[in-house]
Amino acid sequence: MTFFVIAEGVIAFLLVAGGIFAFTGSLGMLQFKDFFMRLHGPTKGTTLGIGCVLIASMLYFTITQREFHVQELLITLFLFISAPVTGHMLAKTGLHMHLRFITGTRGSTPEFRDEDVGQSRVARPAKARHPWKTRRQRKRPVLPR
């Protein structure tokens, strides 16, 4: 009996915490002043928010149906892979489009070198190989200085 009360409490806590984290992450989109700062909300807040909700779901179904439910871990896994990559791509696009950032942004100013914007030669990825016929050793192309 007490076990169920405690489990219920833990699940409720996780749900509420997840909701709060996801909400503040989204609130950051409103609160912050420029594009790059806005990125911080969704890449972090929502990840942990959804993580909490998924753990709660795992616990709930494991306890009520008396069998292990772990496929929620897959959602977390995909989220942990996709969220930072999306954030990186968005930020990089923002830099390429010269989006403005608020005055008072410190540190080294972001600049692109020629090869970063495609103005000079860059190392190309090696050609795709046939899945099983050719097994050459690939050499990493050397960057021109």
Binding site: I20, F21, T24, G25, L27, G28, Q31, F32, D34, F36, M37, L39, H40, G41, T43, K44, G45, T47, L48, G49, V70, Q71, L73, L74, L77, F80, I81, A83, P84, V85, G87, H88, A91, K92, G94, L95, F101, I102, G104, T105, R106, G107, S108, T109, P110, F112, R113, E115, D116, V122, A123, A128, R129, H130, P131, W132, R135, R138, L143
Partner: protein, 165 residues
């Protein structure tokens, strides 16, 4: 080249795919095992031309430790960012930091960039074409050098130990 290596060029990937498939269908009946095995062999065969040769994990225990540290840091990061969002009176000082990379392998760089994005107040923004440095946007920056040192000690060194030396 042995027959096994030809059919299963990346055993770890195949194992992961099989596990993911079994978790997704939530059963270990022979039919699903067979289907999962087919997928685990077929998908790497079709895609391994796109894969970089993966580095070996040299210290699995350190990898586990690293993952735990990162998970803890993610929780900390969330609380910090949430506080920053919810108390708008305290004005954050954003900034860009050019972080010189020590690791050279592409997978390690990817892992490092992802870790940086997931952890306290930093988002990896851009990677130089020659993999020499990573541009990081920091939400609330006090000291550029301190931040670089922290990332180096906390994340890059362990990653380097795990994969490179």
């Amino acid at each position: 080249m042995s027959m096994f290596a030809r059919v299963v060029p990346t055993p770890t990937l195949s194992l992961v795919l099989l596990t993911v498939w079994l978790l997704m269908v939530r059963s270990i009946s022979p039919g699903q095992l067979l289907l999962g095995a087919l997928l685990a062999v077929g998908i790497p065969l079709l895609t391994h031309g796109f894969w970089e040769p993966l580095p070996r994990v040299k210290h699995p225990l350190k990898l586990v430790r690293f993952v735990l540290v990162v998970l803890w840091d993610i929780i900390k990061a969330n609380v910090e960012v949430s506080l920053l969002i919810l108390t708008p009176r305290r004005e954050p000082h954003p900034g860009f930091v050019e972080y010189p990379l020590e690791v050279k392998d592409r997978l390690t760089i990817t892992l490092l960039a992802n870790t940086i994005t997931m952890t306290p107040g930093t988002v990896s923004t851009s990677l130089r074409m020659d993999n020499s440095s990573l541009l990081i946007h920091v939400l609330d920056m006090d000291d550029e050098q301190a931040l670089i040192r922290e990332i180096r000690d906390h994340y890059e060194r362990p990653l380097k130990e795990i994969f490179e030396c």
